[in-house]
C-alpha cells in the first residue's frame, strides 16, 4: 500500500534502515523493483543522503526509519532540510496503534520531537487515511517553500490493506500557496531598483529553488544592479559576471559587504535575511532608504528586516514581472559600479602562500581547474565550507550544496552520496574537514557498496578549525577542546572500508593526487594535511556590524 503510493509519486530511491516497527513495509519491498532502496549505516546518513539527492536533482528525497531511536536519529537531518527548505518525505514506523502512549518498546513521540523541524507531519493510525496522506505529503513537501514532511505510520496500519482511492483530488484548506505576484508591487520594486543611485540585489536559495536565475540576470542587467548571493544562493548568479559581488554575509567578500553597507536600495530575493547575512542587525545596510523583500513565505516579511516594498511570491514570477518595468536607470550608475570595482581591487580574497605548508585554497583552486563548472561540490560545515564557497567560481546553479541554515557537521559525505544517486551524470566532489567527516564516516560503506564515483577531499588540519579560529580571534586566544590530533589514519581507514585513498602533505602532490582520483572509478579519498593555522577571511567579528569585516593579513 505504502510502496504502491510511492511508486505513483514517481519515487526512484529510498534511503532507509529497517527495524521492528517498519518490518511490514520491508517485507514487500522486493515486490517493487522500481523502488531502489539504499541501506544506510545510520539513519542520520539516510536523511542527509535524501537531502543531497533532493538538492542535486530537485526531486523530493525519501527516507525510511523505524520507530524510537530510528526516527529520532533523523531529527538532525530533518532540521538540516527544514532550515534550507529542501523537499523530503520521511516515513517512520510507529508502534501498533493500540500500544501508542503505553511506553511500548521503541516507542517515542516522533510527531512531538519533529514538529519544529518539519514543514508538516502526520500520525497515521487508520488505513483509510494513508493514500490521501501520502499524496498530500508529497504535494506539501514540494510546493511553495519546500520542506521535509514526516509521516509516522503505526505498524498495524502498515499491515492493513485499503481500497485504492482517487488521489488526484487534493483538498488541504489550511495549506496556503503564495504564487501570485502583486503587479503594483513589482512595478514599484523595479522602479526603486532602477532609479536608485546605489542599488544592490542579494539572491538566496529561493532563486535556485524557483529556477529564477535567468530572470535575475535579466533584471540585474536591465537595472545595472550588482548581485551578491547568500551562502545558499551560490550559483544563482555567475561569480565571474561583471555585476557579481560574489558572496555576502559575515564571511562574504569585502567588496560585497562594502556595497551592501553603502547601498541606498537593497533588494533581497528568496532569502531569510538571517543573522549570518546581516551580522549585527542594527548596523545592517545602514544607508538603505528602500528595502525590497521578495519571498514566497509571508512570515519572512519583517521577521528580521522590515521591508518598504514586499512581494510575497515565487521568486521567478516576481522577477519576471519586474524586468519589463525597468525603464529609466539612474544616471549615477556608472559611478556606483566604478566604486564597487575599486572596492574589489582594494579588498581582494587572499591567502598565505609563503610558509611552505599546504594551503586549502591551493587544493580548491586545483580542483576548480579540473572540474570547471561541470561538477557538484558538497561541502561540510566549518572552514572547509567557506573556503569551498569563496574559492570556486560557480557560474551555474545547483553545483554547490551545503548545510547553510542548520550548519550540520557530518552533512557532506552522506549528502554527496545522495547527490551522486540524484545526478549520476555529473562528477561529485565532497569537501570536508576531518572533524565533520568522522561524524558520519560510516556511510563510506554505502559509497563502496554502490561503487559511487564520489571524490572525497579531506581538508585535514588536525583541529576543529572554525572553532579554533573563533577562539583565537574572539575568545582571548584560549584554545579549548579543539585539538583533533588523535584521529584515525584516514588512508588505513579507507583501506578498511574498501576504497583507495592517498595522503598529501606538499603542494607539488596536489595535482598528481587529483590525477589518481580522476583515473579511479568509484569512491576515492584524499587526505590533505593542510596548514593547521589557515583561517577563513574575510570575517566579521561576532556581534559586530558587516562594515567591520576583518581581512586576511597581507602576507609577505
Amino acid at each position: 500500500m505504502i510502496l504502491e503510493a510511492l511508486e505513483r509519486e514517481g519515487v526512484e530511491y529510498i534511503f532507509g534502515y529497517p527495524g521492528g516497527a517498519n518490518l511490514p513495509i520491508y517485507q514487500h519491498l522486493h515486490e517493487h523493483p522500481k523502488l531502489k532502496h539504499i541501506l544506510v549505516r545510520h539513519e542520520q546518513g539516510a536523511a542527509h543522503m535524501a537531502d543531497g539527492y533532493a538538492r542535486a536533482c530537485g526531486k523530493p528525497g525519501v527516507v525510511f526509519a523505524t520507530s524510537g531511536p530510528g526516527a529520532l536519529n533523523l531529527v538532525t537531518g530533518l532540521c538540516t532540510a527544514y532550515m534550507d527548505s529542501v523537499p523530503m518525505i520521511a516515513i517512520t514506523g510507529q508502534v501498533v496503534s493500540t500500544q501508542v502512549g503505553r511506553d511500548a518498546f521503541q516507542e517515542s513521540d516522533v510527531i512531538g520531537a519533529t514538529s519544529s523541524v518539519t514543514k508538516h507531519s502526520y500520525l497515521v493510525t487508520k488505513i483509510d487515511q494513508l493514500p490521501r496522506v501520502i499524496h498530500e505529503a508529497f504535494h506539501i513537501a514540494t510546493t511553495g517553500r519546500p520542506g521535509p514532511v514526516l509521516i509516522d505510520i503505526c505498524k498495524d496500519v502498515q499491515q492493513a490493506d485499503a481500497e485504492r482511492v482517487n488521489t488526484e483530488y487534493l483538498e488541504i484548506p489550511g495549506y496556503k500557496l503564495n504564487g501570485h505576484v502583486n503587479l503594483d508591487g513589482a512595478r514599484q520594486a523595479a522602479q526603486a531598483l532602477a532609479g536608485a543611485e546605489r542599488p544592490v540585489i542579494l539572491a538566496g536559495h529561493g532563486v535556485l529553488l524557483s529556477h529564477a536565475e535567468r530572470e535575475l540576470m535579466q533584471l540585474a542587467e536591465a537595472a545595472a544592479a550588482p548581485v551578491g548571493t547568500t551562502l545558499l544562493g551560490i550559483g544563482a548568479f555567475p561569480v565571474k559576471h561583471p555585476l557579481s559581488l560574489h558572496m555576502t554575509g559575515f564571511m562574504g567578500t569585502g567588496w560585497c559587504l562594502k556595497a551592501v553597507q553603502n547601498a541606498d536600495v537593497l533588494m533581497m530575493v528568496g532569502m531569510r535575511v538571517d543573522d549570518r547575512v546581516t551580522a549585527k542587525l542594527s548596523e545592517f545596510a545602514p544607508n538603505v532608504k528602500t528595502f525590497i523583500h521578495v519571498d514566497i513565505d509571508e512570515s519572512e516579511m519583517g521577521k528580521n528586516v522590515r521591508p518598504h516594498i514586499e512581494l510575497v511570491a515565487d521568486a521567478r514570477l516576481a522577477l519576471e514581472a519586474m524586468v519589463p518595468q525597468v525603464t529609466k536607470v539612474d544616471a549615477g550608475r556608472a559611478k556606483w559600479l566604478g566604486q564597487i570595482d575599486k572596492w574589489r581591487e582594494e579588498h581582494p580574497l587572499r591567502y598565505r602562500q609563503s610558509n611552505g605548508q599546504l594551503q586549502p585554497q591551493d587544493v580548491l583552486i586545483d580542483m576548480y581547474k579540473r572540474a570547471r563548472s561541470e561538477a557538484i561540490i558538497v561541502a561540510d560545515v566549518g572552514q572547509n565550507q567557506i573556503w569551498a564557497a569563496l574559492w570556486w567560481n560557480y557560474d551555474r546553479p545547483g553545483l554547490f550544496i551545503n548545510s547553510g541554515g542548520s550548519g550540520t557537521m557530518g552533512f557532506a559525505l552522506p549528502a554527496a552520496l545522495g547527490a551522486k544517486f540524484g545526478r549520476p551524470d555529473l562528477p561529485v566532489w565532497c569537501v570536508a574537514g576531518e572533524g565533520g567527516f568522522v561524524m558520519t564516516a560510516q556511510e563510506l560503506s554505502v559509497a563502496v557498496e554502490h561503487q559511487l564515483d564520489v571524490k572525497i577531499v579531506l581538508l585535514n588540519n588536525r583541529s576543529l578549525g572554525m572553532v579554533r579560529q573563533f577562539q583565537d580571534d574572539f575568545y582571548g586566544g584560549v584554545r579549548s577542546q579543539v585539538d583533533l590530533t588523535h584521529m584515525p589514519d584516514f588512508v588505513k581507514l579507507c583501506e578498511a572500508y574498501g576504497l583507495p585513498a592517498l595522503r598529501v602533505e606538499k603542494f607539488e602532490d596536489i595535482a598528481p593526487s587529483f590525477d589518481a582520483a580522476e583515473r579511479t572509478k568509484g569512491p576515492f579519498l584524499i587526505d590533505f594535511r593542510i596548514d593547521p593555522e589557515a583561517n577563513v577571511y574575510p570575517i566579521v567579528p561576532l556581534g559586530k556590524g558587516l562594515g567591520e569585516f576583518r581581512e586576511a593579513p597581507e602576507y609577505a
Partner: protein, 169 residues
C-alpha cells in the same frame, strides 16, 4: 497562565500593548494544539488567554488566542500560525470593535450577595460550604468582578479564556 489570588488588584499586564487577539479556525486533530503551542513557544510568543470550542464547520474548531508577541513584529504571530497546515484561517481582531466575553465561576463564603447579583452574577448553587455564582463579561468587567468577589471571601474561583467575535455592522 492566569493566576487569581483571593486578593484584589488584578493589575493590567505591562505588556498590554503587545497583546494580539486572534481568532483561529483549525482542523480537529490530535496534533493541532501541540503544533500551535509549539509555534508560539518557539517564536518567543506568550499565551495570555486561550479558549477552544467547536466551530460551525464540522471537523473544525475555533480557537481564540490572546498572545504577547514578545520581541517579534506584531504581525509575526498571525503569519507564523498561518504557516501551519492545521490552521485554516487566522483573523486578527486586535483593536477591532468586538464582543469579548470571559466567564468566571466562584464559590464565596458570604451569604450576602447583593453586590454580586447587582453586577449581573447568577447563583448556580448554595450549600453549607458557600454559594457558587457565575458571571460573564469583558476582561475589565471580569477583573472588577473578581475584585468584588474577594470582599465576599473567595473559597474557589475558576476563569475561562476569552471568546471574541467581531461586532456586526
Amino acid at each position: 497562565m492566569l493566576e487569581i489570588k483571593p486578593k484584589p488588584a488584578v493589575a493590567a499586564p505591562q505588556t498590554h500593548n503587545r497583546i494580539r487577539v486572534l481568532s483561529l479556525l483549525v482542523v480537529d486533530g490530535q496534533n493541532t494544539l501541540t503544533k500551535i503551542s509549539g509555534v508560539i513557544r518557539r517564536r518567543g510568543f506568550h499565551v495570555r488567554g486561550i479558549s477552544v470550542g467547536p466551530s460551525r464547520q464540522p471537523g473544525h474548531s475555533r480557537i481564540t488566542l490572546q498572545i504577547d508577541h514578545g520581541h517579534a513584529e506584531a504581525d509575526q504571530v498571525r503569519k507564523q500560525l498561518e504557516r501551519l497546515v492545521e490552521v485554516v484561517e487566522v483573523e486578527d481582531l486586535t483593536g477591532d470593535d468586538v464582543h469579548n466575553r470571559e466567564l468566571v465561576v466562584a464559590t464565596v463564603a458570604a451569604s450576602e450577595l447583593d453586590a454580586l447579583l447587582k453586577r449581573g452574577a447568577k447563583v448556580l448553587s448554595t450549600g453549607s460550604d458557600g454559594t457558587t455564582v457565575e458571571f460573564s463579561g469583558d476582561a475589565d468587567q471580569v477583573a472588577d468582578f473578581v475584585n468584588e468577589l474577594a470582599r465576599h471571601g473567595i473559597i474557589d474561583v475558576v476563569r475561562s479564556g476569552p471568546v471574541v467575535m467581531r461586532k456586526s455592522e
